[in-house]
Assembly symmetry: C2
Homo-oligomer: 164 residues x 2
């Protein structure tokens, strides 16, 4: 049974365990692959973010954050980042976090969700979000230096949250 | 005669004088219109930014910053923000800062410059950047709540810096 709840200080080890391989790989997030544990946790649990963990069978198998994507006139659009444990893929963790984040965003009054930088080679994510009703609203040519693929495009994806 | 040089602590008053009306108006930058002087200066002169001022006749008439737009695999793309004193418009201040920023970006080794959030109603800026060779690579529907215009689109604009 999958449960999603706000992260607490006692989740820091489990969250770092999820973040570390993803950030070290450097092929999806625009984070320095050499980032320290403290800096990674400070980023994932920054004050402007609401950070959740997804548990299944008492184990933390995923985490995501929700934040305003901008201030001032841009504060009605939110942004999220998601990480699922590789060994938990195919168990609906990512799908559950996505559904939870869309609900949380609507509840918080956001009018849209935007992903600013989706590395095009991350097709698992791209396809998941297209199926969830996100549109590709921008393509940033060569904006990401992939450790294996060289310069690849990044996508900007967005979903309207006001259409029910 | 226009001179562009790195900003120093002694420029803080002049920079705030430029930022204040723009941020208070809330129609171009995604900054809280009620932002304090300290927070505005902390944003404009953040550690990851190199901030310049443009002087003409001993007066600071413009300011801009240059920063990496992302970390890790996105660190080869830079981002800038520019502000020109309204009373100095038409004197080439904005044009001089744009040219300076493109030179500074190339010198720093950036491969592209990206503006993440250009409010579509800010046509003076949009047209200046199109003329300078920027492309519109994304359109964020309704992403900006304009104080007079309601929800308007924001553009993502980008310029390749490797084409000489």
């Amino acid at each position: 049974m999958t449960t999603i709840r706000p992260a607490t200080v006692s989740d820091h080890d489990a969250i770092w365990h999820l973040l570390e391989p993803v950030f070290r790989a450097g092929d999806t997030y625009t984070i320095d692959p050499g980032v320290s544990r403290d800096d990674a946790l400070a980023y994932w649990l920054a004050p402007e973010k609401t950070t959740y963990v997804c548990e299944d069978g008492g184990q933390v198998l995923g985490t995501y954050y929700l934040r305003p994507n901008a201030a001032g006139g841009g504060a009605h659009v939110c942004n999220c980042g998601y990480i699922t444990a590789p060994q938990a893929r195919g168990r609906g963790i990512a799908r559950a976090m996505l559904a939870h984040s869309l609900d949380a965003a609507r509840t918080a009054g956001y009018r849209a969700m935007q992903y600013n930088f989706v590395v095009e080679t991350n097709q698992r994510a791209v396809q998941t979000w297209l199926r969830a009703g996100f549109d590709v609203v921008g393509r940033l040519p060569g904006a990401f230096l992939h450790p294996q693929g060289g310069y690849v495009d990044a996508l900007v994806m967005m979903k309207d949250l006001t259409d029910g």
